[in-house]
């Protein structure tokens, strides 16, 4: 008899519905599978037959054919075991033909018949809802993750016998979203870190606030031990909490990467990723034969922090060029092109020279050649994408000892950041942008227009500092953010001069 079961597959972060078609007929006993299958899918044959046997269901000696449609899409992964098993049971008449009506089934089988967790449940369930599916049967471990999607029934199952029982009796209650501790709009997630922990470094703190407000990429330069890493780690605490939509986007990526767990079925705080500098190009960008999302995608809507930037291999840093510009990353493989979102705030930290003591020449012994080689690791195009560049000077003992009470807390800074972001959102609503950092030169002309006085001021700066057009635009974008933080609709001289101070330190580090 012929029967079908619906399941889902992942391509990039998108999901597709797959029909598992099973036919059992008289003839030479065999079990064959077709439909452009990867080797792990082909192995499902053994897992399914043993799992069924151990669940007490014996396969009769028949000619069993399984087809996964559409047949022109390569099937990968371990999630087809359960739908194949259910399809066979339907085909053999163990289950009713209409028992899986409006249902999506997904999961890996162990030889004992247990159901194991799979990756990418979130996008699959969401796609299923769009396709009009009413109930999803998923591995128990993926249940909470699946239940994040509203208005669709989710059943978590531990063992194939549970599935059989359910499909026969349809008694088991479906889990729905409201039972789960889910997205909490009001509460800001707790952080262990807080900006009030940091003494001194007011310039840097201020620049971080500006960067967070306009989603500008940031580069911190300073000697070791000045607090670069400490400050970077606290950036998520001043970013606005994730919106529900953003949370869903981020969770989807984590789901595909298999990083959601029962304890954390939904990502509710902004990601902060600080990969070690030995990270490979593939790990950063996303890699593998079937690419998994890389660190840059996992940092989507959050912060990607690269500490000791020049220690990263040059090719690794160069990978950032395209995603920083386009907010997503394309990975081409022979199995197709995968697009992962990568809209993150890039924060780099580096020493000013290999020994780290420059500009304190009493301690720095680096030759200009060494310094140049060190800085040469970061290519110009990447530096170009960084709007704010700030130096963290060494702390004096006095500053170090100061009490932390006087320091501003993250919550206070966050309020200002959020207010500035609101202004931007309102202003850019019609052009579909969110932040000042995303402005194109055309937008800059429109939204960052200067008054007569300010224009003259910029003209002087432009001539005096020999700015490039790009540097000029960067200054305007950052000045726009500073003005937004001040709640000013017009960019003033004081905003511009602050923005000029955050200009790339190219002058110092790349001059003769």
């Amino acid at each position: 008899m012929f029967s079908t079961v619906t399941t889902g597959a992942i391509c990039g972060i998108h999901s597709f519905m797959i029909q598992v078609e099973v036919d059992t007929a008289k003839g030479l006993p065999c079990f064959q599978m077709v439909g452009y299958l990867g080797s792990e899918v082909k192995e499902a044959r053994e897992r399914v037959s043993v799992a069924l046997k151990n669940a007490g269901i014996k396969l009769p000696p028949m000619h069993i054919t399984v087809n996964l449609a559409p047949a022109d899409m390569r099937k990968e992964g371990n999630a087809y075991d359960l739908p194949i098993a259910v399809g066979i049971m339907k085909s053999l008449g163990i289950l009713e033909q209409d028992s899986t009506e409006g249902m999506l089934i997904i999961g890996e089988l162990g030889l004992s018949g247990e159901i194991k967790k799979v990756k990418g449940i979130l996008p699959v369930v969401r796609k299923a809802r769009e396709e009009g599916i009413k109930v999803c049967i998923v591995p128990k471990e993926n249940e909470k993750e699946a239940a994040v999607i509203q208005k669709i029934g989710v059943i978590g199952a531990d063992h194939i016998t549970e599935v059989v029982q359910y499909l026969k009796e349809k008694t088991k209650e479906t889990r729905i979203r409201k039972e789960l501790p889910l997205f909490d709009k009001g509460n800001f997630p707790d952080f262990k870190e807080d900006f009030s922990d940091i003494n001194g470094q007011s310039v840097v703190k201020r620049s971080v606030e500006v960067a967070a407000a306009g989603f500008h990429h940031l580069l911190l330069i300073g000697p070791p031990g000045a607090g670069k890493t400490m400050i970077a780690k606290r950036i998520p605490t001043i970013l606005p909490p994730l919106t529900e939509e953003e949370s869903m986007e981020v969770s989807t990526i984590y789901s595909v990467a298999g990083l959601l767990s029962e304890d954390m079925p939904l990502i509710t705080r902004r990601p902060f990723l600080n990969p070690h500098h030995t990270i490979s190009v593939q790990a950063l960008a996303g890699g593998g034969r079937i690419p998994k999302p890389g660190v840059i995608s996992l940092a989507h809507r959050g912060v990607l922090f690269l500490d000791e930037l020049p220690e990263f291999s040059r090719s690794t840093i160069d990978i950032l060029r395209q995603p920083l510009e386009e907010k997503q990353i394309y990975i081409a493989r022979n199995s197709g092109t995968f697009i992962y979102p990568a809209d993150c705030m890039f924060v780099g930290a580096m020493n000013p020279c290999p020994c780290g003591n420059y500009p304190d020449l009493n301690r720095c012994n680096c030759t200009p050649f060494e310094v140049q080689r060190y800085l040469g690791h970061i290519s110009g195009p990447v530096i170009d994408r960084i709007d704010i560049c700030v130096e963290t000077p060494k702390l004096t003992f006095h500053e170090l000892l100061g009490t932390t009470e006087k320091n501003e807390s993250s919550a206070k800074i966050r309020e200002r950041v959020m207010a500035a972001r609101k202004i931007q959102e309102k202003r850019y609503a019609e052009i579909g942008r969110k932040f000042n950092a995303e402005l194109t030169p055309g937008d800059i002309r429109r939204f960052c227009s200067l008054g007569m006085k300010e224009q003259q001021f910029m003209e002087r700066i432009f001539e005096n500092m020999k700015l490039s057009a790009r540097a000029y635009h960067k200054i305007l974008k950052v000045a726009r953010t500073i003005a937004d933080l001040d709640g000013e609709s017009k960019i003033k001289e004081i905003h511009l001069s602050e923005a000029v101070c955050y200009r790339s330190a190219d002058q110092k580090y790349f001059r003769k």
Partner: protein, 372 residues
């Protein structure tokens, strides 16, 4: 018996010098024992054999067939390089007076006037902002007064002072440790190009010689040899610059050192020199007094001149801010805490500093470091 005229002798000298078969001392020995370059060329191998090893001798003989005297000379002229062997009338008199003078020198551009008193400025490659500032001022003062500046076109003090001298309309000569057709360091390309027109580039090494480390100490004797006064701007306790000082003392030249703070590693070499008896340089007159015929010169600027700056500072607030600054760059953070922290916002401070920077009163070292 001179059978060729000088021009031809120069061609023979170029051949001999280019063979690089012996060091400077050996070349002198050969010409003392054999005679003019023409005579060396025609010399009986047996006689040369007394000075050279068999291998060198063979090499020299072989080279004669590979080296077309006139063609090679034309090639050199095409590159606008002059070769001045010791007997050439344009060979600098200054060099004739030093121990171990170069047998021959290569020159691009021109030498300073034969009788012009000149100074050499040397110092650390990795200089501090203070050193940079002083090198700029010294270079400018000497340039304005028409005193040629000899230096090594290296990174840091050398290049900075030479660039500034040219900027002020003066003349400068760079002595390289590589061939004159090679710009080393490459980042001083602009200076190199300008020196070709407005000054000169000199080397005792044949064109094409790469900048290898062992060539540099010997070239220092030429720098000190070509000057009347050697000025040391910044040097660490163990610095290559001190080699130049030793050479200068050996050659009987005047050495002036720029004092610095005792806590600054980059001034320690200079301070040591002063303790050992070098002259102390605190005003341009200190240089002029050692330059014959330039006593009447007077500098428009002093080394700690701040008249330009004074004009740029307009308000009392700015003056107060300026007082906080130093020649060593200070971070914005420190300026803020040393300045009136409670009464001024960080933003306002940034604005004031930028304004002062644009008026030329303060310098910026990187994004958030400022200096006088």
């Amino acid at each position: 018996m001179e059978k060729q005229n000088t021009d031809e002798q120069v061609m023979y000298a170029y051949w001999f010098h280019n063979m690089k078969l012996a060091g400077n001392k050996k070349m002198w020995e050969i010409s003392e024992r054999i005679g003019s370059p023409g005579q060396i060329y025609d010399c009986d191998p047996q006689r040369l054999g007394q000075i050279l090893t068999d291998k060198q001798l063979k090499y020299l003989e072989n080279s004669k067939s590979m080296w077309d005297l006139e063609k090679e000379w034309e090639k050199l002229e095409e590159k606008k390089i002059r070769f001045l062997p010791y007997f050439h009338r344009d060979y600098p008199e200054y060099l004739r007076e030093i121990p171990d003078p170069p047998w021959g020198i290569y020159l691009k551009g021109k030498l300073p006037d034969k009788r012009a008193p000149r100074a050499a400025i040397v110092g650390a490659r990795q200089c501090s902002e203070y050193g940079r500032n002083m090198a700029v001022r010294l270079g400018r003062i000497l340039g304005e007064n028409g005193i040629p500046v000899i230096s090594g076109m290296a990174r840091g003090i050398d290049g900075i002072s030479q660039r500034e001298t040219l900027e002020a309309g003066g003349e400068s000569l760079a002595v390289l440790g590589c061939g004159v057709d090679i710009c080393y360091p490459l980042e001083n390309r602009d200076l190199y190009n300008r020196l070709e027109i407005q000054g000169g580039i000199l080397s005792e090494y044949p064109p094409g010689t790469q900048p290898i480390a062992r060539n540099f100490p010997p070239r220092n004797r030429i720098i000190s040899g070509l000057c009347d006064v050697l000025i040391v701007v910044e040097a660490k306790e163990k610095s290559g610059t001190l080699i130049t000082v030793d050479m200068a003392l050996e050659q009987g030249k005047e050495v002036l050192a720029l004092p610095g703070r005792m806590t600054d590693a980059l001034s320690r070499g200079c301070n040591n020199l002063i303790r050992q008896g070098a002259g102390i340089l605190t005003s341009p007159e200190d240089v002029f007094q050692f330059l014959p015929g330039s006593k009447e010169k007077n500098a428009k600027h002093s080394l700690i001149d701040e008249t330009d700056t004074d004009a740029a500072i307009r308000t009392e607030e700015e003056r107060e801010l300026y007082r906080v600054l130093d020649y060593m760059p200070k971070s914005l953070e420190r300026i803020w805490s040393e300045y009136n922290r409670d009464n001024i916002s960080m933003q306002r401070l940034m604005q004031m500093l930028l304004e002062l920077y644009m008026r030329g009163a303060v310098g910026q070292a990187g994004g958030s470091y400022y200096k006088k």
